[in-house]
Symmetry: C2
Subunit: 201 residues, 2 copies
Amino acid sequence: MAKYHHGNLRHDLIQVATELLAVEGTHGLSLRKMAQKAGVSHNAPYMHFADKEAVLAAIAEEGFRLLAVEVEAAIERSDRQNTRQQLIAASEAYVRFAQARPNHLQVMFAPYDAVKYPDLLAASAASLDRLFELVKSGRENGKLVAGDPHVMTKAIWSMVHGIASISIAYQTTTILSANDSATDVVSVFINYLLDGMATKD
Amino acid sequence: MAKYHHGNLRHDLIQVATELLAVEGTHGLSLRKMAQKAGVSHNAPYMHFADKEAVLAAIAEEGFRLLAVEVEAAIERSDRQNTRQQLIAASEAYVRFAQARPNHLQVMFAPYDAVKYPDLLAASAASLDRLFELVKSGRENGKLVAGDPHVMTKAIWSMVHGIASISIAYQTTTILSANDSATDVVSVFINYLLDGMATKD
DNA sequence: ACCTGAACACCGTTCAAGT
DNA sequence: ACCTGAACACCGTTCAAGT
């Protein structure tokens, strides 16, 4: 009997796949498993995705949206008078996200064809919007000097993503810091960088 | 007929697997393909490796050694009187490595069990030795102030690895810099960071 | 000790159907 | 349009052998 799926299978598949990714890891995630978990035949996913990579791209895209929400929330929670504190809060949220969802971040930063997945590229660019705004307001406050705010944003992003990426790779054996957690180290590293971007007088 | 393999199969497998990784990507790398390419039965690898992950760990370990060699060479080529220039040269070499061997770097920074692969952990730690020495001599020169040289080294590492990691993920669509290559951006970002670590007077 | 061949459960993907 | 079932080539891993 043909037991059709209820509502939006595409959405459900992404949901189920994300859970599977968190539990089983990148290697444990298979099209067949996610189809079964969604209560559908093993090739139903091909109705909504060209191939497995397309599913991963969709998961990645969703991940960037989630990341943006958490960074946004962290900024809202922090002292609005202090741009530096807000930048650090945003950075800490980024690293916390990475540690809470290491497999997800890995999928987000796999190499995709940007032409093939324009929505993914857009979502990842949008996840930096709040950071960019902070850098701009830091310049207006006179706290952050130096040239292009785009360049400064990307420098901060690189620093934060490096911490996140390394802390995932070395899990328990925290090579980053002897005893402290990775989030503890964030403010130290970011402060170095912001000092280099700050007015010297 | 039992056609035994000549010399060191373990070494040959790592060699062959690394080539396969470069050409076919992380997904195209299979135990069966590398066995075939090494001229050996599909389960001969199990004589030398517990499972596929162990092969990847060996490839990763070899990668950290390669990286260390290239960073070392870049430092030797640069101005020995100028610690900052040496740090930038080392950083650029790191990013160049990442762009020349993106799949290799990805395997190097996959999450491994440190207890299971102590040699991998040692090789990755050793790849930072030269950077650490530069930071120390920078402190003695009075060029780099601030606290623990270990912390400073890891901050630089995070920045550089972040640039490398992001530039791999976004390949052609260089989200990092509008027109410049990723290596061009390295000196700008690292200079921000080193300014933050430099003496203020 | 080192390697092989057959076998197992699992993949991604395709294709001919069904409604 | 949306889904299914059978089929294909490929995988990692195990196991009983062979030398």
